[in-house]
């Protein structure tokens, strides 16, 4: 089969599911909407896996390079010759990989939600939104046109908004949804300006053409965009930084990360899908997609590197202090995405220097498995305990053994303990950082210790700490909830062994990434140190954690308060923007704009009041005026008009 025969169905099936469940789900098949959603995703995922098989093993690899294939392309809006918004499908290693991740994790979440969301009033609406999200995310990853990516970028934004605010009767969920939408919208403003600059200078919106023109040092477009400058910085750097701003907003990078922890108000499977495995890595994907262009612009890569590493460290510190288990996972997500971002930042195009690119994509791939597993495990725990707070948990290991084991596997994976998936990908990330930027390597190494610490703090707080004292509330984990956990745990155990450099690399050629035993000693030691510290403090109820908090004093409180980032944002928006920009603007609107309009209306009314007496409503008066007018006109025409 040709790609074109079936590939469009991968995104279109979830869209069909959204339309079907969104329009008719509530009325006609409320009970079965979950099954329908799972079935649709199953077909879609099977097609995605089939595509990946064909691409990677049959016909994607030619002349030593993975080809960039465009099986489908539809010109949607044409501005002028050469510049158009297309809807197309671009197959290259990263888009095929993302397609597999998105459909697979989405399928797991669909299955898990069968149990988790059972009995929910808006069950079919929930599945409709999940399908909408899956469609949008697939459209994003296969985009062949930079404007298409923007289009689907906003669509995933709106599905994320809808799902965060799913429990719209809770004020906190509503405000979290608004916060997520506004913060990412603000970042997308930068993205849009970046797109416009790139399209203006590059003369096209098509990815392949754009990348080709902007990386060819002789092309007129490249010379134009690098010689033009604004505020002393070249337009190329501006454009890439603005595009990265959009990516950083979606990927919750410091300082635009504030929406992600609040987004945990949504149902937990949604957090697993959107806010851990797929949507939040869209920023990483965007940088990877434009990587050839980024790689020839050192300044923007430097920004990418430092934003990534600062986010990784910053979020890891906060994660150590949070008590809401989903918030710990959210900050951990920010931290892990920071790894992927700086791995891209330290990479260069082609060959060995591109190891960071492969490492970033590898970490994205493994992270999707273990982080969605962690979230689904947390969902199972919340389902049993009916609380997000650590203090309500403890000693759950005998009550929910499947969740316990799978959660432990995921914790070991994210901490970087061999032979779990996270170990391999994190090794590669660290190696890439070590080879190009020692400072970043130091931060990353320290952060990996912190990661191990906070993950095992979470693990022990949920499953150990005190003896079992929980009622099951009559809830048991159904098979539909256990199955995804087991499948994902198996994935977490296995995917680390994939020789990723064979499939994904910055220039499409295979990259050998031999395993360096001596190099992996330091990170593993850091991870084991973090785990031991967490075991010592949190395994049994002891005063040690309080003592530690007291010893750290102000630093602990600052981290607990998330370094006052929310307060800073509140201060900037409420005190500065509202008072200095909003209020004067409102004054002008109220007294000058509205005043002008009201003045016109008022004077019109006054004048009408004076002259309305002429309109007597008596037909004979009008006839008389008419008659007098005719006589006057006759006199004028006959006698005066000479």
């Amino acid at each position: 089969m040709n790609y074109a025969d079936y590939i469009a169905w991968i995104p279109l099936l979830p869209l069909a599911g959204f339309v079907l469940l969104g329009l008719f789900g509530k009325r006609f098949f409320k009970q079965y909407s979950g099954i329908i959603g799972v079935f649709i995703l199953l077909v879609s995922a099977a097609l995605a896996f089939y595509t990946a098989y064909i691409y990677f093993f049959i016909n994607g690899y030619e002349d030593g390079v993975y080809q960039k294939l465009i099986p489908i392309k539809y010109v949607w809006l044409q501005f002028y010759s050469g510049t158009s918004i297309d809807m197309g499908i671009l197959l290259d290693p990263i888009s095929v990989m993302m397609m597999v991740i998105v459909t697979f994790v989405s399928l797991m979440v669909h299955i898990f939600s069968l149990g988790y969301m059972k009995g929910e009033e808006r069950f079919s609406t929930y599945y409709a939104f999940l399908s909408l999200f899956t469609f949008s995310m697939l459209g994003l990853v296969v985009a062949s046109n930079i404007f298409q990516i923007y289009f689907f970028w906003e669509l995933v934004g709106i599905s994320s908004y809808l799902l965060i605010g799913f429990y719209y009767d809770r004020p906190s969920a509503v405000s979290a949804a608004k916060k997520a939408f506004i913060v990412t919208r603000f970042a997308d403003l930068g993205f849009l300006i970046g797109i416009i600059i790139l399209a203006f200078e590059g003369g096209t919106l098509d990815f392949n053409t754009l990348i080709h023109r902007l990386t060819d040092l002789q092309s007129p477009e490249y010379i134009a965009i690098t010689t033009a400058s604004f505020l002393g910085i070249s337009v190329m750097t501006w454009a890439l930084t603005l595009v990265f701003m959009g990516g950083a907003g979606k990927s919750a990078m410091f300082p635009l990360h504030i929406w992600l922890p609040d987004a945990m108000e949504g149902p937990t499977p949604v957090s697993a899908l959107i806010h851990a495995a797929t949507m939040v890595v869209a920023g990483v994907f965007l940088v990877a997609r434009l990587f050839p262009v980024f790689s020839i612009n050192g300044a923007s890569l430097l920004i990418v590197t430092w934003v990534g590493s600062v986010s990784a460290l910053f979020a890891a510190i906060i994660a150590c202090t949070q008590t809401d288990i989903k918030r710990v996972l959210a900050y951990s997500t920010v931290s892990q995405i920071g790894y992927m971002i700086f791995a891209l930042g330290v990479a260069r195009y082609g060959g060995e220097a591109g190891a960071g690119y492969t490492a970033s994509m590898f970490h994205l791939f493994t992270h999707a498995f273990f982080k969605s597993l962690l979230f689904l495990g947390a969902g199972a725990v919340i389902h049993i305990v009916h609380s997000n707070e650590m203090k309500d948990m403890g000693g759950l290991r005998k009550l929910i053994p499947v969740t316990h084991i799978t959660f432990l596997i995921a914790c070991l994976a994210i901490a970087g303990v061999p032979p779990f998936a996270g170990f391999f990908s994190k090794e590669e990330v660290l190696l890439a950082a070590y080879n190009s930027n020692k400072a970043v390597y130091g931060i990353a190494l320290f952060t990996s210790g912190l990661t191990a610490f906070y993950m095992f703090r979470l693990y022990f707080s949920i499953f150990w700490r005190k003896e079992q004292e929980h009622e099951t509330h009559g809830h048991k984990l159904s098979l539909s909830m256990k199955l995804p956990l087991i499948i994902l745990a198996a994935g977490t155990l296995l995917v680390g062994f994939i020789p990723f450099g064979k499939f994904v690399s910055s220039d499409g050629r295979t990259l050998e990434s031999p395993f360096h035993f001596e190099f992996s000693i330091a990170p593993v030691l850091f991870a084991l140190a973090g785990i031991s510290l967490a075991t010592w403090i949190y395994k049994k109820e002891s005063g040690r954690s309080q003592k530690l908090a007291a010893a750290l004093g102000g630093f602990y409180r600052a981290a607990y308060k998330k370094f006052y980032m929310d307060e800073v944002y509140m201060f900037v928006t409420k005190k500065i923007i509202f008072n200095l920009v909003g209020k004067p603007a409102a004054w002008i609107d109220k007294y000058i704009v509205d005043g002008t309009m009201n003045g016109i209306a008022f004077s019109t009314a006054k004048v009408s009041g004076w002259i309305k007496g002429i309109q007597s409503g008596k037909v004979q008066n009008y006839a008389l005026y008419f008659f007098v007018g005719i006589i006057v006109l006759s006199i004028v025409i006959l006698y005066l008009w000479k």
Partner: protein, 104 residues
């Protein structure tokens, strides 16, 4: 007929026109106003006929116009009387000053 000078006949039509106009302006009864309009129309008819007869005796244009006007006047009377009947049904009056609903 040739013995009658044109000015006599024009005097008659002018007189009819002004009588009609006067009636139009002073009467409040709709039927009387309708009659006044008929007077005005007929004064115009006389003008057409007399100018046709005295100035271009070989032509018929003025006569045709007159016939048109008579036809239209008949139609107009039918419509006007229908309106008047409806007005009477709703207001129990055909005084123009009584229909004030649409006044400002």
């Amino acid at each position: 007929m040739n013995g009658i000078p044109i000015s006599h006949i024009l005097f008659l039509s002018t007189a009819l026109f002004f009588i009609g106009t006067y009636g139009m302006f002073t009467r409040r009864n709709l039927i009387t106003m309708l009659m006044a309009i008929e007077l005005i129309l007929n004064s115009v008819n006389i003008n057409f006929i007399v100018f046709n007869k005295y100035l271009w005796p070989g032509k018929l244009d003025g006569v045709f116009f007159t016939i048109f006007i008579i036809t239209i006047a008949a139609a107009e009377a039918a419509v006007a009387i229908a309106i008047i009947i409806n007005l009477y049904r709703s207001h129990r009056s055909i005084d123009v000053e009584d229909a004030t609903e649409l006044k400002w």
